[in-house]
């Protein structure tokens, strides 16, 4: 699946997007964040505060407990500041 990062999440991770295949057992957005955070300190830094970590699966907003099975694109970003 493709992962995309925006705003300071992108800056902390150091890239705008990447392709990854999470291992079996990574079932939710929250699992995916934890797994990424264990792989590299940059991800842990990006996801350190769950209260300012947002996600979307194939565009719509999702909660941390959303299942990632079948997702093509998962985006991680901070709370939005548009308008």
């Amino acid at each position: 699946m493709k992962l995309r990062y925006f705003a300071w999440v992108r800056e902390r991770i150091g890239k705008p997007e990447e392709e990854i295949e999470p291992p079996a057992g990574i079932a939710t957005v929250s699992d995916l964040r934890t797994w990424l955070s264990q792989r590299r300190a940059a991800y842990a830094h990006a996801f350190e505060n769950p209260t300012v970590s947002r996600a979307a699966i194939d565009r719509p907003h999702v909660r941390a407990d959303a299942a990632i099975l079948g997702a093509r694109e998962i985006a991680f970003f901070p709370p939005m500041t548009g308008g």
Binding site: A7, W8, P79, G82, G83
Partner: protein
């Protein structure tokens, strides 16, 4: 009802967007035009510029979703939303919301509803460049305001907590 939703780098003309919306229409009695503008300071610090990052595809989809919610909630006769992205300098327009209805209450309420949701739910992120005293003071991502969440939440008082 055909709504206009556009994301663009270029400036927009609020007057011509509003005029387009009501051209040839005799049923529209109220048009509300809201323009959000890049201020010259952020929390008291002078601003050199602001950069708006967005998530292409999702941004359009989220705006359309909220325009449709507004159309279900109020008897609207026209809606236009234009949101800019990229680098903007103080004084430049950021976002335009135009709502048309037979009566002003509906047009005002729908415009406010759309702005409250654009601020908290549309995937845009503001980064400001502060103008320092002779040297650049770097770029700062603007934090989301809890007061903005409260403004968006007032439209859904019975929504389950997220």
């Amino acid at each position: 009802m055909a709504a206009t939703v556009r994301l663009q780098r270029e400036p927009f003309d609020a007057g011509s967007e509003a005029a387009k919306l009501r051209r040839g229409r005799g049923d529209i009695g109220a048009v509300v035009t809201f323009t959000g503008i890049c201020r010259q300071d952020e929390a008291g610090a002078p601003l050199a510029a602001m950069t708006l990052e967005h998530y292409p595809g999702m941004a359009e989809a989220e705006i359309v979703r909220h325009v449709e919610a507004a159309e279900r909630r109020w008897p609207l006769l026209g809606v236009a939303v234009v949101h800019r992205y990229g680098r903007l300098e103080p004084g430049e327009e950021i976002v335009l919301v135009v709502t048309a209805a037979a009566h002003r209450q509906d047009a005002f309420a729908a415009a406010e509803f759309l702005m409250d949701y654009l601020t908290t739910r549309a995937p845009f992120w503001k980064q400001v460049e502060l103008a320092g005293s002779g040297r650049p003071r770097g770029k700062i991502w603007i934090d989301a305001k809890q007061s903005d969440d409260a403004l968006a939440d007032r439209w859904t008082p019975h929504r389950a907590a997220e």
